[in-house]
Subunit: 269 residues, 2 copies
């Protein structure tokens, strides 16, 4: 499994992923799932990948081959009509990647289905083309896509449930990019704690609007001091917050050493 | 779907459930999933139920019928050998319920599988028989069961992922029963926010060791002042905790009006 999350905020994009890949529980390895494309000076794309690793790698390779063949045309081949370098709108990039995803799955699907394995892959595409707003898309295994909106400014792929509640609490479009990066890390840390198939290194890219490049890129290794510090702070803060919740009416208010919480009134017994 | 959680703490048991039942998204109704059995003065059981509602209801009815037929024997019928009133150990109660669960599923399974529906049900059984410790079991649809242990003092059934991280942060065997009840409520509230198929009223039973009865039973309705207060407090505390997390090294420390958080050192760019 995998867990990737992207935030589409007023100030720009935050893209984050874990790096764990597994085939069963007895073959666990580490692959980056955060891929940066800057195929022309007026544009930037970041692609987060989840699903069958062979599918996601071949999708990335085909995207790169199209860019290469368009940049260095071979007269004996038909150059690709669409590449990330020439799409005019972000949604066209999402459609283009969706079509490649579908083509790769169609090629390998029959052999995988025959052994009961899944060929599916999904992607989160974040990016910007100069003169247009930045945008964030979830590309389904079926090739179609949805976009993040101000009402739902984040998109997730992979093992998304454990890390969703904290995003629901924190993420609004007005969140700062740095707070957005912290929200992604907290969401990733919580998921890792609950699910073995998601794990560090965690990668985060922070892309302010109109920068057309990541302003910051983090790669936090397992047990790195930075990640351990953040996880410890979060655990302590969350426990503090929890133990200050309102009391039940039947509780004595001397439960905490500090200020007692407000009482919950009118509980039904 | 459903979300039920049980805690096996040093001081006793906490059992909690939502009450939402749905057949698709266009038929949503409300059923209690927390069931108390006190079949003899020396014992108490609480059963939390998830899965096919017809299966869980029939399992409960068969448990009650066995108790009834054992208490008022009909000479023309063979009285049930095992009931919740005569099992000698808690794990025997778990096995007994598992066998009933399996029998109900075997009876109705073929008809349901023919239309692609699931007949499966799972249960969490908490309880105590006088003279023995209290215990908590998860009964699988296949009829077997596992017990909570000091290392893993909580068990969940149904839509369990959204509400798991908060339990991992908070729940240890030494947690007080009231804090345990709050942890269950926070876990339920977070799940409800993320998943339409889980919803109030929330039911919670607090059962101290050796009381052989719930000391407190809560039923919190949707938008009740108690539930809204707790959800609001939790949301605010969690946001406060979040915004006090350590800064990234590139951030200015004037981000918050109050004390700035400690800096995360040595992030890799």
């Amino acid at each position: 499994m995998t867990y990737c999350v992207g935030l589409c905020l007023d100030q720009g994009l935050v893209m984050a992923s874990d790096s764990r890949t597994n085939a069963g529980v007895d073959y666990i390895s580490s692959y980056s799932k955060l891929h940066l494309f800057q195929p022309a000076p007026d544009r930037m794309f970041i692609l987060l990948a989840a699903g069958n690793l062979a599918t996601t790698q071949e999708v990335l390779n085909r995207i790169r081959r199209d860019l290469d063949q368009a940049a260095h045309p071979d007269p004996t081949l038909i150059a690709p009509a669409t590449t990330l370098a020439n799409v005019a709108y972000l949604f066209e990039a999402a459609n283009y990647i969706g079509q490649i995803n579908l083509a790769v799955q169609n090629e390998h699907g029959p052999a995988l289905r025959a052994v009961g394995a899944s060929v599916e892959a999904s992607f989160i595409l974040g990016g910007q083309i100069a003169g247009q707003p930045h945008g964030l898309f979830l590309i389904y295994p079926q090739g179609n896509h949805i976009a993040a909106t101000p009402e739902t400014p984040y998109l997730q792929i992979g093992e998304s449930k454990y890390g969703k509640p904290i995003l629901d609490h924190i993420v609004t479009p007005s969140l700062s990019l740095n707070d957005g990066a912290r929200a992604c890390l907290v969401s990733l840390v919580g998921t890792t704690r609950s699910n073995l198939s998601v794990g560090p290194p965690f990668e985060v890219a922070i892309c302010p609007t109109d920068a057309l490049a990541p302003l910051q890129r983090l790669r936090l290794e397992e047990h790195s001091p930075e990640l351990d510090t953040m996880a410890r702070y979060w655990n302590e803060s969350l426990r503090q917050a929890f133990f200050q919740l309102p009391h039940f009416p039947w509780e004595q208010s001397d439960r905490t050493a500090g200020e007692p919480g407000e009482e919950l009134q009118q509980m039904q017994g």
